[in-house]
């Protein structure tokens, strides 16, 4: 008995000898939850001091629209992360939606091409979910494979050409102001209200947290774990398409690079906002704060006149820091 316990602590990692006080655990937990909102406030103040151009109304409008697009995509990503999965195909789905709508819009009515786009997104999400649940493929690999496949399909379909004008309806949805705020923000708000309600007050929402928290226990409690995961993936893909439509409406054209950063940014936003990789922890308020933080930082790189590559490096840095913090928090909480 005695020997076995000393053995474990001797040969175990250094951290196994490390005994955090409850206060320290609480502090890390709080930091994990509130890092994003606090950082947003700090960044806003720093921006006021060093880059007043940030508060220029035109810039604010740009930031708002970028916030809305990333916000919509990040809601889906949060749902997927909550069930212990991940979706790396969002960027491809997002761009695919824009391509479909722009290219089929010429002959057809807009409604049909929109329906087409959403149906394809739903199918992609369904396939992702089935690969992950029924075939036991690790989520990274399944959705990463899907990413390559969709990009290939898009290239084969569009022959690598940038094409078409974006339908007026999409432009309206994206950039027309309603009162002060761009319509995109209203789309984001509606999506968020729906999903906050869904997560908090419906059985489905509680199931999502349960599945992420402990899939075995959920299975024994009679929750259809596979089904919940498949639905989460489907919702994620559909929201990615929605984000893609709003984005293409804002940019006004569709090219091959459209939305390439959205995998990274949507995951980073959710993680920064307090969603953990191990599932079951996190909420959409945190995700919104994470989105705000990322969009602000990316915009500040531009406003401060830094070279554009620093955007990439900064995205990576934010992701690494956030994941480290959340990983450490999860490690402390699970002890």
């Amino acid at each position: 008995m005695n020997t076995s316990s000393t053995k474990t602590s001797f040969f175990g990692s250094k951290l196994s000898g490390f005994r955090p006080t409850p206060r320290f655990v609480n502090a890390v937990d709080l930091a994990g939850q509130w890092a994003a909102p606090i950082m947003v406030c700090i960044v806003l103040i720093v921006a006021a001091l060093f880059a007043p151009a940030f508060y220029n109304p035109t810039n604010l409008r740009t930031v708002t629209i970028q916030f809305a697009v990333l916000g919509i995509v990040a809601v889906g990503q949060t749902l997927v992360l909550l069930v212990r999965s991940i979706d790396l195909s969002v960027s491809a789905v997002l761009a695919l939606g824009a391509v479909i709508v722009v290219q089929t819009q010429a002959g057809n009515s807009l409604i049909i091409s929109l329906l087409q786009a959403f149906a394809i997104a739903g199918a992609i999400g369904l396939i992702n979910g089935i690969l992950i649940t029924k075939r036991g493929v690790p989520p990274f690999v399944a959705t990463f494979g899907m990413l390559v496949f969709i990009q290939g399909a898009r290239l084969a379909y569009s022959k690598g050409q940038a094409s078409g004008t974006v339908p007026d309806l999409l432009r309206t949805i994206s950039i027309e102001p309603v009162g002060f705020i761009p319509a995109a923000l209203i789309v984001w708000l509606v999506v968020n209200i729906i999903f906050i309600f869904l997560l908090k007050y419906t059985r489905f929402g509680r199931w999502i947290y349960a599945v992420g928290g402990n899939p075995f226990a959920s299975q024994y409690a009679g929750i259809r774990v596979d089904w919940i995961m498949i639905v989460a993936h489907t919702i994620c893909s559909v929201l990615a398409i929605l984000g893609g439509l709003v984005l293409s409406g804002y940019i006004g054209y569709v090219d091959l690079r459209l939305g390439a950063d959205y995998n990274m940014n949507s995951i980073a936003a959710a993680i920064v906002g307090g969603t953990t990789f191990t599932g079951g922890r996190g909420n959409l308020f945190g995700t919104a704060a994470g989105v705000a933080l990322l969009v602000l930082l990316l915009n500040l790189v531009v406003v401060l006149g830094l070279s554009i590559h620093w955007q990439l490096a900064m995205q990576g840095l934010v992701l690494v820091l956030a994941v480290s913090l959340q990983g450490f928090r999860q490690f402390l909480l699970s002890r």
Partner: protein
């Protein structure tokens, strides 16, 4: 665990079915080499160009870059992790060394020191990956994803145009031949052999399997889990840096597009070769098969002139099918 149990019971049966036992134990390896023989055979039958000895020698030489990256990726995946940053490590090394060659005005004296410096860069980045992952208990996939983004930004900052000034002597790494076979192919074969010895015969190599099988059990068996994990990422950085140097000697210029998309190909090679993406199972011989298969496929695509837009689609399709055919023994949700 399940296989050892099966093996133990299988040995009590009469020894008449040794062949069947061998096939069952090495099913994925037999399958992958069967595929290679099938595809290569078909290609050799239908294409005059494919079966020329120089093309065969070429395929072997083309497989080196993917091979180096896939070796590193295998070692990491065996521990249950994944390294998304290897293509960017290779690129960072290639660009940095090319810049330094240009700085020293292509003086051949500096070739050896700069090769060593390149390897040091790769090892250090790999070490940073490993430390971030083990110290913060964060998800390896996302940490290396973030590191890849940081490096991408750094690489863009180094150069966005090809860097000239690599000394001619450095190119001999790629060019030197004995008869038809390039020297680097022979060296690469030796590296494969060494890695095979490493994973099957050394303590650290077996520890990789143990950690990937179950971290907790590995820890209880007095294996230093964190040290093993850091070693895995250091080795992956090491092989990535060699791949970067090799690309540099092949291109003759520091190409800002070095190793684009190679991370995904390395994961595909590993997965197709039968190493479990959950870690702990599989063999480096399978990875060699995966690398050869992908290289032969690329060669065949080129020979029959598949449109470049369809190549990615086909690659994605191959991946999705491989991934869907694959089933993890440790899936949580098999109900």
């Amino acid at each position: 665990m399940a296989t050892t149990f099966e093996d133990a019971t299988a040995h009590t049966e009469p020894r008449t079915n040794t062949l069947i036992l061998f096939l069952r134990k090495n099913a994925s390896i037999v399958l992958i080499y069967g595929f290679i023989i099938l595809i290569a055979g078909a290609a050799a039958y239908f294409s005059d160009t494919f079966r020329t000895p120089s093309n065969m020698a070429n395929i072997l030489r083309q497989s080196i870059i993917l091979g180096l990256l896939a070796i590193g990726q295998s070692l990491v995946i065996l521990t249950g992790g994944m390294d998304i940053s290897i293509d960017m490590i290779a690129r960072t090394v290639a660009l940095t060394i090319a810049t330094l060659f240009a700085f020293y005005e292509s003086d051949p004296i500096f070739i050896l020191p700069l090769i060593l410096l390149g390897i040091v860069i790769g090892v250090v980045i790999g070490g940073i990956n490993g430390l971030l992952i083990t110290r913060t208990h964060a998800n390896p996939f996302i940490i290396t994803f973030g590191v890849a983004f940081i490096l991408r930004g750094v690489n863009l900052a180094i150069s966005t145009t090809p860097i000239r000034g690599v000394p001619k002597e450095f190119l001999s790494i790629y060019n030197t031949k004995i008869g038809l076979i390039a020297v680097n192919v022979i060296v690469m074969a030796f590296i494969w052999f060494l890695v095979w010895l490493f994973t099957t015969r050394t303590r650290l190599g077996r520890a990789l399997y143990a950690v990937g099988g179950s971290e907790r059990i590995a820890r209880l068996s007095a294996i230093r889990v964190n040290k093993t994990l850091v070693w895995a990422y250091v080795l992956s950085g090491f092989f990535a840096s060699i791949a970067g140097l090799f690309v540099l000697s092949r291109m003759g210029v520091g190409d800002p597009g070095t190793a684009e998309g190679m991370t995904f190909q390395s994961i595909v090679a590993v997965a197709v070769g039968g190493i479990s993406l959950y870690g702990g199972r599989g063999s480096i011989i399978g990875t060699l098969g995966g690398v050869l298969l992908l290289t032969i496929l690329a060669n065949v695509f080129n020979l029959i002139q598949v449109n470049i837009y369809y190549q990615q689609l086909l690659l994605g399709l191959v991946v999705l099918i491989a991934v869907a055919a694959y089933r993890s023994p440790r899936t949580v949700r098999s109900g």
